[in-house]
């Protein structure tokens, strides 16, 4: 059975009918662009442009106000001058709209009058029951139905559909601030809750726990509104999928900067740290980790233990990967005699973990065969739970490398990550995208790739502990 709160959140992410209230001026009006983006990203629900000065937009009939629509509306997107917003939200509530997303800025974060306007929104939400996301948000993306609320120009018209839910209280986590397409992130949902006058991280967590497409939740937080409810919701997520948190406002100065950003107060850092640990969430430390680490969970199974096999092409990188593995809580697997024998047959130089294939691959006639079979031997070893595999990225070999990893994925049930290095950045980025499109997480930094495996092993252990009790 679906709770009322769940159904509210579905109005935001999975509306069947949406009203867009704001400027419909062609090529630039924010409501006009928002509708344009919905169409470009493939949203096929009903769309009602709302503006008294227009009769249509993008071929849809426009209405002077929400009351005139006369059809059920799940979500209204409001992009109008701040003083007009409370009245419009009131009207939406009166017309049976379930939820509003207020894009407009200059509310709580601007202080003074803006703060008062935001308080009025909170009051309307309490009185009428309408759900409000924002204000000061670019809203959300849902790759399952192509729904998107962003009212600004986006340089691409699709993002890779996949298993990650990225969320934040900043528009920095959104299509206008991130090269989502060129990075190839596999995305299920994306959301910026803005000033959180109503919908906040707790609602998001409760919703995302129930979204089957979301295999992992990556959440950027500056503050938490209600600690107890947050922990409850986080536990619900963690019982089903990993939760990665980037908490900013860690330092005192950072906390002060938070206040002027979203008018919320960051609390004591140690309290957050303890709370995250208690619910089983994993902290990531940088935006780079926030974006990159979830990719592992979008497609790979959890490792059954923490023993890593490392396949490298350069000895130096093997050392780096080993350091990173140990620092991420992994142990370097000790290969069985059977595996060592197989490796030895390729070359006596290969009987190590990290297994540096570089010197061998440059002298054998069939490097792809040796790389693939050597890697399979390592991954089939009962002492190996997961693997980090380095590969050289180059335009001329994208195809065979891709084919090899696709086969490798079929030949093993254990998780692995790929690290790509080389001298052609553009080709390396293309390989990351192509591997990602085949459900293989590929990274340009070995340390990040290995850290993702480390978090996976810790999450798997946590889940086993729960199951065992």
């Amino acid at each position: 059975m679906q709770s009322a709160a769940q159904s509210d959140m579905k109005a935001f992410f999975e509306p069947e009918a949406v009203a867009v209230i704001g400027s419909l001026k062609e090529n630039g009006g924010l409501a006009y662009v928002a509708i344009q983006n919905m169409l470009r990203f493939g949203y096929s629900g009903r769309i009602y442009p709302i503006n008294p000065s227009y009769t249509e937009a993008h071929g849809f009939k426009a209405y002077p106000n929400i009351g005139e629509v006369g059809q059920p509306v799940d979500l209204a997107i409001v992009i109008t001058p701040p003083p007009t917003v409370p009245g419009i939200v009131e009207e939406c509530a009166g017309s049976g709209v379930k939820a509003v997303l207020v894009v407009s800025e200059n509310f709580g974060e601007a202080g003074g009058e803006g703060m008062k306007l935001q308080q009025r929104l909170t009051e309307i939400r309490r009185r009428t029951g309408i759900r409000i996301m924002g204000p000061n948000t670019i809203g959300l993306v849902n790759t399952s139905n192509g729904f998107i609320t962003v009212p600004y120009y986006i340089a691409y018209d699709r993002v890779q559909k996949g298993g990650i839910a990225y969320c934040s209280q900043s528009g920095f986590v959104g299509p206008t601030a991130q090269p989502l397409k060129e990075r190839g992130y596999p995305i299920a949902r994306m959301c910026d809750v803005g000033n959180k006058c109503d919908v906040n991280e707790v609602d998001l967590l409760n919703y995302l726990a129930d979204v089957p497409e979301a295999k992992v939740v990556a959440m950027h937080l500056e503050d938490v509104k209600d600690g107890r409810r947050f922990m409850e919701a986080a536990r619900k997520v963690v019982a089903r999928k990993p939760l990665l948190i980037l908490k900013s406002g860690r330092t005192e100065a950072g906390a002060r900067a938070t206040a002027s950003h979203t008018s919320s107060l960051a609390g004591d850092e140690q309290v957050y740290d303890a709370a995250f640990r208690q619910v089983g969430a994993f902290r990531v430390n940088t935006w780079h980790e926030f974006w990159e680490i979830p990719r592992f969970f979008a497609s790979q199974p959890l490792p059954k233990g923490n023993r890593i096999g490392i396949v490298t092409h350069t000895g130096g990188a093997g050392v780096v990967a080993t350091d990173a593995a140990v620092e991420a809580g992994l142990t370097v697997a000790k290969f069985t005699e059977k595996t060592l024998k197989k490796l030895y047959d390729f070359s006596p130089r290969l009987v190590y973990n990290p297994c540096d294939m570089g010197p061998i691959l440059s002298i054998v006639d069939n490097p792809f065969y040796v790389q693939e079979e050597g890697t399979v031997a390592i991954m089939e070893d009962p002492n190996v739970d997961c693997a980090a595999i380095a590969t050289y990225g180059m335009e001329q070999i994208i195809e065979p490398i891709l084919a090899m990893f696709v086969r490798l994925k079929q030949r093993t049930s254990k998780p692995f990550v790929v690290w790509i290095y080389g001298m052609q950045l553009t080709a390396m980025e293309e390989m990351v995208r192509q591997l990602e499109a085949h459900g293989i997480p590929a990274y340009l930094e070995f340390e990040t790739a290995v850290k993702a495996l480390g978090i996976a092993a810790r999450y798997a252990a946590m889940r086993r502990d729960v199951t065992d009790t």
Copy 2:
């Protein structure tokens, strides 16, 4: 006056005449490719191909052996099967060659016979005085004279000339393993010392301390051969330019992996840590930092203090930058009344540090003017020592943004870093390259940009302390 050791190292990096010993087979022979790379990268010294089966290569007369050259040779590059190497090095020594660079692999790192061969090289070096770099190295790049020793295909034919010396004991730090051109790193020298049978990190540090084009040294180390001499050489560098060190083999497992990579033993981690601190070197923790942080020092002056001004376009990023600044040892500057007044005149929303210009720039008619003048006001503030400036990266605005930062650089004598974010990765990378070409360090991650400033402030304080005593 130049020491003998200095003159030895010049034979490697600045040879007037070089012999290349190995296969001269067209399009593939390693000696052939090495010479080809020298020509592509603009080396104009004398080149002597050495191989008894050829009479010429690339238009240069080929000699059957080094003894036949009959002209002074500074450096011989040896790329022949391992068992032949000691004899060839012996011949080089007998013919008055000052230095040899042994590219060939399968020496100490392979154990057994290889180890014995390497010991013979060490013995020849001791007996004859010839200097040896390697074995197991791809050698070096010198952007000042276009000299390069790499015998493998390189996908580009130039790297940006600039102030960084990158060095390592792994070919991972070299043109075939890094997209040097696409990243736009400004490079003075680059060197892989390989197995260090003779030339090691100490020689490199002593040489690089004296190279005026090298404004900063970034060194990857797995081990240090001679602690006392290392510290002496490191001190010499630090007295003139910052020294950044990425030490791998930090963990016990990593140290073991080091042994199978270069046959050297990594020592106690805490000893390294204390030694680096004592000489005033800065540790970086990841390859990403190893490559990115030096870019600051290649072009920017040192800050006079540790007070940072942060200019951002998104509130969320301002919080992240503040956290990163505090964690890097910087303090968030308190603007003077005069600065606050100037900012207030643009908008009351701007009177903060971090100064979030995002909301203002999207509504004013002259965003570039406001961004530039607001930033200049902050940088001219006597309470500000350095600045981190966020800017949006997009194909359509590369030109005005570049022009603005070039003017900014002329208008201020204080150091700053630029952080570029946006939705077009390719355009953002292009902006990084273009800014870098104008001596402006630009980053795709705010944290790394700010960390570079933090290290700069700490280095500047260290230098002031020395000057004050």
